[in-house]
Symmetry: C2
Subunit: 242 residues, 2 copies
Amino acid sequence: MAKLYVVGMGPGAEGELTARARAALEAAEVLCGYTLYVELLRPLFPGKDVHATGMKSELERCRWALETARSGRSVALVCSGDAGVYGMASPLLELAGEVPGVKIEIIPGLTAALTGAALLGAPLGHDFCVVSLSDLLTPWETIETRLRCATEGDFALCLYNPASRHRPDALRRACEVLLQTRSPQTVCGLARRIGREGESWELLTLEELRTAQADMFTTVFIGSSRTRRIGGRMVTPRGYGE
Amino acid sequence: MAKLYVVGMGPGAEGELTARARAALEAAEVLCGYTLYVELLRPLFPGKDVHATGMKSELERCRWALETARSGRSVALVCSGDAGVYGMASPLLELAGEVPGVKIEIIPGLTAALTGAALLGAPLGHDFCVVSLSDLLTPWETIETRLRCATEGDFALCLYNPASRHRPDALRRACEVLLQTRSPQTVCGLARRIGREGESWELLTLEELRTAQADMFTTVFIGSSRTRRIGGRMVTPRGYGE
């Protein structure tokens, strides 16, 4: 029985890998993951065996990783960002019961909420919510309810999957929900292609965000009522007493 | 003018440092931070100058870092976990206007929501909220409102600062708010001393969590209605369609 590492690789830049993630990727006999992410890692581990598959084949990939580990080859199942946040740790653990006995180690990594926030300033300096706008696995009504609850609680928000080819208007729809109760002047930010070639970021208002361009490599930050633009950065104060 | 790095060091274990954080700590002439965190790093950087101060002197520490960088010495302002999540990036950026021209780089790190989740399984596999129970800088009513909104939106929750000597009952009070609408059988988890000597974790129900022991080194996870105990781990499925 070999080991199965579920590894959060961070945004893709070599510098954002933790030492523990790097050691697991070194130790594994084969790297398994979505083609794009595996390709980002390949230059760091030349000669390493790779099992790369396309999007939407996550469950197949988890099964392959479990079976491969059971057969005696150690595997690193690679996730962009963190292993747990919309990552593979969850479906893998759900399936692990079907392939008993495999030793699983989950290795956290920097998710886009953290790496994007660091680019913009400190938008998540106080309580926050993370919401995915993908309705692939979640009904849109659930997403909308969560956006309403987050804004009612005056949370700062980080939005994942703000758009895709099949959902070009998800971000606009989300902004319209938020604008029902949150000021159009709310400080917001976009981080694009974090840690990769073409990385960029910008600050804008919630009203401007409504019509902003976003894609699957964009992470969106929406301030609370206390978030401010300070020296060109987006800053949510740590508390109400300062 | 020298550089000021605000560095998320992760939980404290050497393996959880990113390469970028490590390089910044190497590059800085002086490490500045809360005594406990600086002491965790000292063995990795022997001989490095250190400016360590106690808790509650955060603003003084930010000013010292800004002034030191302005005077021409590069500084790494060290944060446990991430630099942005309840970290020093926010107060530092608020104060930076008073000391103009210092070049600030924020370097993200693994916050306890991610490292604790990886220990427990995948409690944050879908939308989640992060809430601090510390009422030092936030009125308790605001905390309670956020807990209500988070549970109304059926978010998974990660709670920071669940207790301290001066707030021994914060976790019990929070659980009582959540129990008004969320099942007492909700899957919950505690992670203690993540990445440090004495690290431990356990799963329990929300009802059991109400009377559980927590301290300032404990991170608390509360499942959504969809979170399950699978193979002894806490797992929140990634979506509603699977």
